[in-house]
């Protein structure tokens, strides 16, 4: 393929960049205890929740932004961010799709996810998050029959305070890290899932995140609890409109799996990555952690990260229960000036715990990408087992791919294996495809998809299709 065409493809702008004009009920930029009180009041939260937030805020004030990641970005002015933005008329929330603001529906149309159709066709309950407030929740009744609670975290704080008190902040404590503390202080929405003992959630649960109003940081808080022998598969996906100013996202996701429970958490992240000079784009600082509290419990993270200007994200598993299992499957793609520092932590505490890490990184353009992972085997984790594989694919001579795998092993019965390779797309592979009449672009897509196969097959069907498409769009023309 001619180099020129290649360049055109590389320069192609973000397909999903557009702005929906909805009047937002937004607080002026700035963060202090009043802002937090405002958020808490807006959400109609009880007093103890406000106290919880303020405690997090006070801890945050004493912390400093982490600098260990292989990322380069200007300091974030936390006083220049507006911490609350909700679609118009928050007290008058729509009860069904008919009541939803047509402009919002239009946004979904543009994204190619007609909400009701998608929900009906795919049998997926969608808790659509539009600028921090849950606008609509479907299939609630069906879930209700099974005894599954699936609602926004704000509703959960109001309706299930005992569950919130019992679990919120127990996996990711308020002061866990700088961004988790910030999130704990100012989170505005997110999802809450509770699957009671013995129940297998009848459908895959999904939330679509979108960031809309300019200058609004998005601070989602998700809490998923699976009681004994319960199972759930949760999908998280996101796109965002084009912006010039950097938007901060600091989400916290907490998963709790009790005995024999299984939580599968899949993410497709396609936020605006900034333009080719790295202008704009989302800053994505996420703390995700699952706690395998019960024996034989299992938590599986699968992520496809193609968006964001900055990604700082380490979905982790604390393997506390005996025979518990942690899994992490990741595909991360960075192009142009994108930077990603991502990986996982597997903390083995219980006996016979097992973990698997498969990480595939693809770096193109002037992007930099790092895998950063920790496998820790505690002294009591007898017969713990870990297998890690992280491979990087480099496309172009200006990008970077890095691996920083930490292993801390304190038990002689542990078996830990780590393998990593870095290479470029083979000329011979390309030639092979080209000689069979496959265009260079399709050949690259094929090779890249093959490279990521191990991860894609972990994704639920509808996500896998979307992920492949996203990957192709992100890398279009990156080879020349």
């Amino acid at each position: 393929m001619a180099t020129q065409e290649m360049e055109q493809l590389v320069r192609r702008e973000y397909k999903q960049g557009f702005v929906t004009d909805i009047e937002s009920d937004t607080v002026p930029p700035g963060l202090d205890e009043n802002t937090i009180a405002f958020i808490s009041q807006k959400k109609g939260e009880p007093e103890w929740m406000l106290e919880w937030r303020l405690d997090a805020y006070r801890q945050w004030l004493k912390m400093t932004s982490p600098s260990w990641a292989h990322l380069d970005y200007p300091p974030i002015d936390y006083q220049a961010i507006s911490y609350y933005s909700a679609p118009k008329k928050p007290e008058d929330r729509p009860q069904s799709l008919d009541e939803v603001d047509p402009k919002l529906l239009e946004t979904y149309e543009k994204l190619g996810i007609p909400l009701h159709e998608r929900a009906a066709l795919a049998g997926v309950a969608v808790d659509a998050v539009f600028d921090s407030v849950s606008v609509t929740t479907t299939f609630k009744e069906k879930l209700g029959e099974a005894g599954v609670i699936f609602c926004s975290i704000s509703e959960a704080i109001r309706d299930y305070p005992e569950l919130i008190k019992q679990y919120l902040g127990t996996v990711v404590p308020k002061g866990d890290n700088y961004f988790a503390a910030l999130n704990s202080a100012v989170f505005t929405d997110g999802s809450f899932v509770f699957v009671p003992e013995g129940v297998t959630c009848p459908m895959e649960l999904s939330t679509y995140f979108r960031i809309n109003a300019a200058n609004t940081g998005q601070f989602e808080r998700t809490l998923i609890i699976c009681e004994k022998q319960a199972q759930v598969s949760y999908l998280e996906g996101c796109t965002a409109p084009m912006r010039d100013e950097n938007q901060l996202h600091a989400a916290v996701v907490e998963l709790v799996a009790l005995e024999d429970a299984y939580i599968k958490y899949s993410t497709v992240q396609n936020w605006y990555p900034g333009d080719e000079d790295g202008k704009g784009g989302i800053y994505n600082f996420v703390t995700k952690r699952g706690d395998c509290r019960g024996d034989r419990s299992r938590i599986s993270w699968t992520q496809v990260e193609t968006g964001s200007a900055i990604t700082w994200k380490y979905p982790s598993c604390v393997l506390r229960g005996k025979d518990s299992v942690g899994e992490f499957y990741s595909v991360a793609v960075t192009n142009n000036r994108q930077q990603a520092d991502t990986g996982t932590k597997m903390i083995h505490i219980g006996e016979n715990t097992r973990s698997t890490i498969v990480s595939k990184g693809i770096s193109a353009g002037r992007a930099n990408q790092s895998y950063r992972g920790l496998v820790k085997i505690g002294p009591r984790a007898r017969n713990a087992r870990n297998y890690t594989q992280c491979d990087s694919l480099l496309i172009g001579d200006q990008c970077g791919a890095h691996t920083y795998p930490y292993q801390e092993i304190g038990n002689s019965s542990a078996t830990v294996e780590h393998e990593a390779t870095t290479s470029k797309i083979g000329e011979d592979q390309l030639f092979y495809c080209r000689s069979r009449g496959i265009s260079e672009e399709d050949a690259v897509n094929m090779i890249v998809n093959g490279f990521c196969k191990d991860v894609f097959q972990e994704l639920p069907m509808e996500f896998a299709v979307e992920a492949e498409a996203l990957l192709n769009v992100t890398l279009e023309g990156a080879v020349g």
């Binding site: 304190g410 393998e419 470029k424």
Partner: protein, 449 residues
Amino acid sequence: MSEEQTFLDALKAREATRDVAEPTWIAARRQAASARFEAVGFPTKRNEAWKYTDVRAIARGDFALATDAEFSRASAAALTLPIEALRLTFVDGIFSAPLSDLSELPKGVTIEPLTEALEANHEAVGAVLGRLAGVDFSPFAALNTAFAEEGAVIRLAPGTVVEKPIILQFLSRAHEQPVMSHPRVLIEAGARSEATVLEHHVGEAEAANFTNLVSEALLERGAILTYYKLQEAPLGDLHISSLHVDQGRDSRFTSFNLNLGGALVRNDIVTDLNAEGAETQYYGLFYAQGRQHVDNHTLVNHNAPRTFSEENYKGILDDRARGVFNGKVIVKRDSQKIEANQNNANLLLSDRAEIDTKPELEIYADDVKCSHGATTGQLDEKAIYALRTRGIDEQTARGLLTLAFAGEVMEAVKLDAVAERVELAVAGKLPERFNLSGLVETAVALGEE
């Protein structure tokens, strides 16, 4: 008083006793180095490069500086490796002429204690010394630069091939008050020269001294240098060292980093592959028991295209010992067509032993082949059983299998006397009844089934 102040005071006290003024460049460097050390202080666990290694045992120590190099010939002979070699011996950092042997020095080779090299031509030394190991490398490199007085200078003229190994022997004595030494080694290998250098640390069993060594090696076009380090320092010794290597076109550097002794050990090896065709090979083995702490940090900088690096480190940890491995490979932008492989395997022999390993890759070029692997495991009970059924007692079986684990590294060791010391330490005295090697292979294969 701060921990750093103790060392700064010792430096002042030392300077006050100096009767002849040093050349100005040396004085200026000492000044800059002590200022640097004062500014950064001892590293703490908050420092990523020292995350797993606590140096408080050094920081809180009160070390004197040795004033003589007395060591009985008989006890020195027992410690010295039975290798016919060119030998420089240092006792607690001080040069010992009687225990050194530089007779039959081949043409084109200069081997001198640092003090003599400075006396002969201090400018020639100053032009090169410190070029690779700057004071900002680590607080210990700064401390070394501030204190360094003795060490070794090895120069190989272009085309010189030295048959005998060059041994730098560092002896540690037991004292009422422990001592510290800050030796400095400089190796200049001219074009197409070839040599083997062995840095050997050993001493009296009760010693508890602090050694802080900095070595620099410059390899010009086509030079071949094999650098052994056999560290069997007394179990109370505190040992910090860094080795900095700069490689020219088509040069070859091989490092054997073999660590058996010391209470607290930290080794840094840094290689800069600066021109095409340069090749570096790292072999490492650390065996720690009791409460020993051994930390190995390696760094390979691929600064030029078509450069190659290969690394293989094996860790064996028993009792409550703790091992740290951090291997880093950096491929600079435009360093295309490079190959870098890195491997670290660890064997835990006890439930209370710990290993922290981090094989890192930082790659900024695309046409590269890089891989790294790290594994940690234990001896295979099936393999032990297989050996037991052939009439080998359990202890011997374990020893043999541990040796088999270290095999890949030990097979590459060309100095038999060195290999023997390592094998004895790792596996104990083994019977010579059978042809054991075939048997071990069978046992290992059985275990893998």
